[in-house]
């Protein structure tokens, strides 16, 4: 079997007495859209943070393309082809949309210790920024300062920023959070397009979206993986049903 793009093995992370990530193992194959779901407090964001390098695990390992990245700082992981979007939009608010994306492109196009030439006139960076903005349908808003963009537009911009670094793997932390119905539909459509180009790990609460998009789904409850499989298998899984019906006792007992 081919080496998976992302391999997570026996990851453990505790916060005081709470085990937020409890022996989590999962593989993401190249080209796959792998969704991670679970009720509130299941440890999804904690898991993502360990994948991106914002949080260190207490034990276990993460490898990307066969390379161990468990303790690599965030900016180095990014250079290896890992990009993320934030659950709570995290952008440069006083920069324009185009500047936000161009900076991401710049991080992957040679040294940034250049002190004299006007970076906003670098055609390569501007073109990359405009291409990424066009990809998410924001090209017409390129020169608008981010603090003047709507919430939905900011979520799309998050995606454009992640895309501009030409990642191998995209980690999306609740890209639909706070979106209206039409905005959500647009986002699902957009992700349908993007998945053809890049492998994606998607953390999301919006179940219809997850089942429409995912190749495989991993279900987390109380930090533990209780099921992993294709959407049909997950839909039929008794433990998952119970978890989402709120019968947590049975699930934890069982798992």
């Amino acid at each position: 079997m081919a080496e998976p793009l992302l391999r997570v093995e026996k990851l453990v992370r505790r916060f005081g007495g709470i085990i937020a990530t409890d022996n989590v193992s999962l593989d993401v194959a190249a080209g796959e859209l792998h969704a991670i779901i679970g009720p509130n407090g299941a440890g999804k964001t904690t898991l993502i943070s360990q994948l991106t390098g914002h949080l260190e695990p207490h034990s276990g390992s993460v490898s990307l393309g066969g390379r161990d990245i468990t303790y690599l700082p965030a900016h180095r992981r990014c250079a290896l082809g890992l990009a993320r979007s934030f659950q709570i939009t995290s952008l440069l608010l006083d920069f324009t949309a185009a500047d936000n994306v161009a900076l991401a492109a710049q991080a992957h196009a040679g040294t940034s210790f250049r002190f004299f030439a006007d970076a906003r006139k670098e055609k390569g960076l501007r073109d990359a920024a405009h291409a990424a903005l066009d990809r998410v349908g924001l090209l017409h808003r390129a020169d608008v300062v981010v603090s003047r963009l709507s919430h939905g537009e900011r979520r799309e911009l998050e995606l454009a920023v992640a895309l501009a670094s030409k990642p191998k793997l995209l980690l999306l932390d609740e890209p639909m959070a706070g979106l209206g119905v039409t905005e959500s539909q647009r986002m699902v459509k957009l992700l349908q397009e993007l998945r053809k180009e890049v492998s994606i790990v998607l953390v999301e609460h919006d179940m219809p979206a997850v089942f429409a998009l995912a190749d495989r789904i991993t279900v987390l409850v109380y930090g533990r993986v209780i099921a992993s499989g294709d959407p049909a298998a997950i839909r039929a899984n008794e433990d998952v049903k119970r978890a989402y019906l709120g019968d947590q006792h049975v699930v934890t007992h069982h798992g």
Binding site: H54, S90, L93, S112, F115
Partner: protein, 314 residues
Amino acid sequence: MKNLTVSKAVTALMLAGLVLLPLYSQASGNVFILTLFTRIVILALAAASLNLIMGFGGMMSFGHAAYLGIGGYAVGMLAQEGVGSGFIQFPVALAASALYALVIGALSLRTRGVYFIMITLAFAQMAYYVASGLARYGGDDGLTVYKRSDFSGLINLGNRTQFYYLCLACLFGVLFLIWRIVNSRFGLVVQGLRSNEQRMQAIGFPAKRYQLVCFVISGTMCGLAGALLANNTDFVSPAVMYWTRSGDLMVMVILGGMGTLFGPVVGAVVFLLLEEFLSQITEYWALIMGPLLLLIVLFGRGGIMGLLGRFNRG
């Protein structure tokens, strides 16, 4: 004429005034005003260098006056030891400032926010006490510079007008560099880090490296101001490094407009002119200056440049 804004017009007028000032001084025979403005131009340079890290980089350094002292002592100590050439004194002043900035920056940038302010302040106070302890170089009393830096006839620093133009050229040169830097790749990264450090790390920029380099550039620029200041006063003492001086520089930047290219120059001109004229009226001039600053900071977010900018929209 769409691009002719009030703030641009004021800036242009002010710059033209600075360039033409020696002519006025000569015509009117008013020597004092030239001396005063030489000091203003030098401190504007220092404020502009502080603005690079504070306004553009978001690094609130409360120890920027240390570089004024380091640049000044480099000139004074070399002069005392018989090295009078400006071609040696100035490079040494810049190198010493850069080195100090490198060490202090590497240590201070481990912290953020209030701690960064406090640690830069603490280091500057250390520099102050070290200078006070230099018995050979005057200690507390300071060090008289008997001969200004000698540039082998290229330019005579003893001549008021020539010295003024040298200072002005340095100011314009530094402003030009800052303008290029803030629009360069490097400058965008530094400003991005000010805006959202977590995001910049996530797209692949290691924060500290960029901030440290910015810190060193800023310190070196301020060291130049220090070397000029020592020549201007023919004297350097620990007092130039005292924390209130660092505070003055911060006030100039905030007063003029943080993160704008010409804000610190406007701030320095207004601050020092106010100080000069209010202190002629009353010895309690700080009582008037204080509330004035308060008003501008309270009602003019973005300082004077911010206030001027509002005229266009209003």
